[in-house]
Amino acid sequence: MTDRFNLYRYASPATFYPLAGALIPYFAAVSVVFGLAGLWLGMLVAPTDFQQGEGYRIIFIHVPASWMSMFIYLVMAFWAAIGLAFNTRLSGMMAQALAPTGALMAFLSLWTGALWGKPMWGTWWVWDARLTSELILLFLYIGYMALTAAIDDARRADKAGGILLLVGVVNIPIIYFSVKWWNTLHQGSSVNLTKSSMAETMLWGMLLMAMCFWMYSIAVAFARVRTIMLERERHTDWVKALLAGDEK
């Protein structure tokens, strides 16, 4: 019985709110540290790529942004599943707090992909399987945000958004497979943004940048979820006490 109680305690907004608030500075600081280390390795130390020249350095943000955009969608789907299965309040809030960051990561991935493509492929946009899938992922994020924004009732928004996320997560492999199939049939470009044979410093730089993006996403999502909590729980005692305490 006590175990159960503890689990619910951490899942309750009243306890998670201060916890998230306390953790944000740490995640932000770790993100900055990883970012500086990654930039130092990637931008200053890593050697020139023999095929792509200095232009390859774009992958130090392109790849982490792409990873994060996919990872955040998976995390949102995870929270959606938890929320639908156990009817927890926190999960829906987490999914909604993550969505804008995920969409921005997808946008960054497309933006840097275009800037990489211009010198390497000669055009800003190629209907390459990965870029196309990333674009569709951005559409899925936009659809999720539009749906949750259109529903006034927070509980319904969480659940409807959750179903959309689960449908999306089932569809992503199918979409990726179909786009890849379509791409090979139409003789798409065969140059890859990431190459298998990378110098060790390049790989480390990329991993450090990925950690930086990861920690950044957690910090921003926590900050956003705190605001969502205040808004949603404004009629509860703990929010009232918090707001009244702030006033003095």
Partner: protein, 222 residues
Amino acid sequence: MLKIILAVVGRDLKLAMRRQADIVSALFFFVIVVSLFPLGIGPEPDLLRKLAPGVLWVAALLATMLSLPRLFADDHRDGTLEQLALAPHPLGLVVTGKVIAHWLVSGLPLALIAPVLGVQFDLSGDALLVLTFAILIGTPALSGIGAIGAALTLGLRGGGVLLSLLVLPLYIPVLIFGAGAVDATVTGLGGEGHLSLLGALTFASLGFAPWASAAALKIALE
């Protein structure tokens, strides 16, 4: 189980027959959109033949979108939907019936008129056959996936636009394999692989989508 599905199909078809104008306007929307493309692109037969599969399929997706907001809205307004949700049989079966009925009045007419439009694009006999068959077996998936979107946006303001925002990205695999089948036939590669994948998509979405829609409907009705 089959009885419930058939009962829902029969009922929805009867209701649709009372509003034949809706079916006809969706069909004409399809015809007009497809006919606009040659006017915008130019009449060269080679170019049109190349574009035909994509144009016809995109127009079919859009035409399907037109009737989707109505899928649950009418039943929701007069309270039938709540009755169905409270009934002892699973809501997923009811949705399956509604999806089948939706396909019969929206997907099937598109497939029947598609060869006529294909002729406008100078498609060969083989390609016309594959086109018709692809639309025939691909549109049930559109109705199924669309039902999820229709259930999620039930009763929301701006539901129609929102619905297309949610559903169109999920239609992409159907578009790729559907248009790909015709394209492969035109270029002489044979569209069997595409068609079997399209059939697999339809089976999967008909098995999966009604239950997801039913869950979404229950949330909307809470």
